[in-house]
């Protein structure tokens, strides 16, 4: 939209993007899809490059895959289960899992599609999260306050897709230290509440 160059904060941006996904779902609106692309494609590329730096073709392929699913699955997206950012993250993660499976040296017939479908309506039980926005805010604020050593490990695990063992090898830290840092970080973010 011309003239709308005001810098939006993350909450406003998310609200704007959520409008776009509704437009895509209900009216197959391509202009809204283009705006979703403008916002999310650079983040999806960054997510891919975090794991494979300089692999630009792989990053573009991931964008293509994820945005294709956004177009096709927009009507199945349920904002009560997860906000749009989280949905996009799970799509990107799932596409990456599938990409790695297809390009693995040792093939497996396990089809991940029905394993990681926790964000769709017909997925395993619609888990509704109470106080969604409070959880969201805790995580956002909490991440900024984590000690560097803890956020570094979360980045390795979530963005680079490393196992705890791989993180331990790369950072030359004992496995137990890696595990306890992940645990501490997630505890501070109030993600692991006791049952």
């Amino acid at each position: 939209m011309p003239g709308m160059t005001k810098q939006l904060n993350s909450g406003e941006k998310l609200a704007q993007m959520s409008q776009c996904i509704t437009e895509v779902a209900e009216n197959r609106d391509k202009a809204s899809f283009a705006r979703l692309f403008d916002h999310y494609a650079p983040l999806i590329r960054a997510y891919s490059l975090a794991r494979e730096p300089a692999a630009n073709l792989v990053a573009d392929e991931l964008v293509q895959e994820v945005m294709t699913r956004v177009w096709l699955k927009a009507a199945k997206y349920n904002p009560r289960l997860a906000n749009l950012n989280t949905w996009i993250f799970t799509l990107a993660r799932n596409c990456r899992i599938d990409y790695l499976r297809r390009n693995s040296r040792y093939a497996t017939e396990i089809d991940p599609t029905d394993i990681f479908n926790d964000m769709e309506d017909e997925g395993p039980g619609p888990f509704q999260l109470v106080q969604q926005s409070r959880v969201e805010e805790n995580i956002r604020a909490g991440l900024k306050q984590l000690p560097r050593e803890q956020s570094e490990i979360l980045t390795k695990v979530y963005l680079e897709g490393k196992s705890h063992q791989q993180a331990s090898d790369e950072l030359k830290l004992p496995l137990g230290t890696v595990k306890s840092r992940v645990r501490l970080a997630l505890k501070k973010l109030e993600v692991l509440v006791p049952r």
Binding site: S10, K30, F37, D38, A41, P42, L43, R45, A46, Y47, A59, D60, V63, Q64, T68, W71, L72, A82, N85, T86, F89, T90, A92, R93, R96, R101, S104, R105, Y106, T108, I110, D111, P112, D114, I115, F116, D118, M119, G123, P124, G125, F127, L129, E136, I139, L143, L154, T155, V157, Y158, L159, G161, H164, V182, R183, L186, E190, V191, L192, R195
Partner: protein
């Protein structure tokens, strides 16, 4: 409703959320979560961590060419069905969604093979790390004989229940046994017990009689 369930630990759930877990283990977690709301909620919070971390990345602009190519394709895109969508089973089917890719017509129609008087098994597939994904069926009151594994063993109960040294396990229960853990699961008397089992190395039966069986069992893992 499920307070007595045995759950995957936080480390496994985190790896599942981050997408770094081998698919065979993810299959077990997903199966468990169809029975467990609390793990589902934990997973949603873990996914938010990934989402927030992704939002904080420095964006890497996509080319205009990529955008226009994708926009041009939109009308021609058609959705591929997942295995579970392609073969909708009976509405009352108790087969977990993520297992329907392997179990099309109910557990009873699988090509079960006899392992012992008490146990039948059927291999569903292998993971790319070599882990073996199989279903085990223990007859009512039957015992899976004492066994150890060379690697970890992940089990989720699909039907029935069994008990071992550490307690009673029922539908949806998830457990991991390490290479050193010896255990002797015994199915309850009322019905047969069906489990999803993922083993990272060959199972070794340690009972007196079954030790004789080991060479043969091991060969089937070759």
């Amino acid at each position: 409703m499920n307070k007595s369930l045995n759950h995957p630990n936080d480390e496994l759930l985190t790896a599942y959320s981050a997408g770094s877990l081998p698919l065979s283990q993810a299959l077990c977690i997903s199966t468990h979560m169809e029975h467990c709301q609390s793990c589902g909620q934990k997973l949603q919070r873990l996914n938010r961590v990934g989402s927030q971390l992704m939002q904080q990345l420095k964006p890497s602009p996509a080319s205009a060419e990529l955008k226009s190519r994708l926009l041009d394709q939109l009308d021609a895109l058609t959705e591929e069905q997942s295995p579970a969508e392609a073969k909708p089973s009976e509405p009352d089917s108790s087969i977990p969604r993520c297992l329907r890719q392997f179990v099309e017509n109910g557990y009873e129609n699988l090509p079960w093979r006899r392992v012992s008087t008490d146990i039948h098994s059927v291999e569903l597939c292998r993971d790319s790390n070599g882990a073996r994904v199989e279903l085990l069926k223990i007859r009512p009151g039957g015992s899976a004989t004492t066994h150890t594994h060379l690697g970890d063993e992940y089990t989720v109960i699909l039907e029935g229940s069994f008990s071992d040294d550490s307690g009673l396990y029922g539908q949806g229960d998830f457990m991991v046994k390490g290479a050193q853990d010896k255990h002797t699961p015994v199915a309850t008397q009322d019905r047969e017990c069906i489990c999803l089992a993922v083993t990272e190395g060959p199972i070794q039966f340690t009972g007196f009689m079954s030790r004789l069986l080991n060479p043969f069992i091991r060969r089937s893992y070759a």
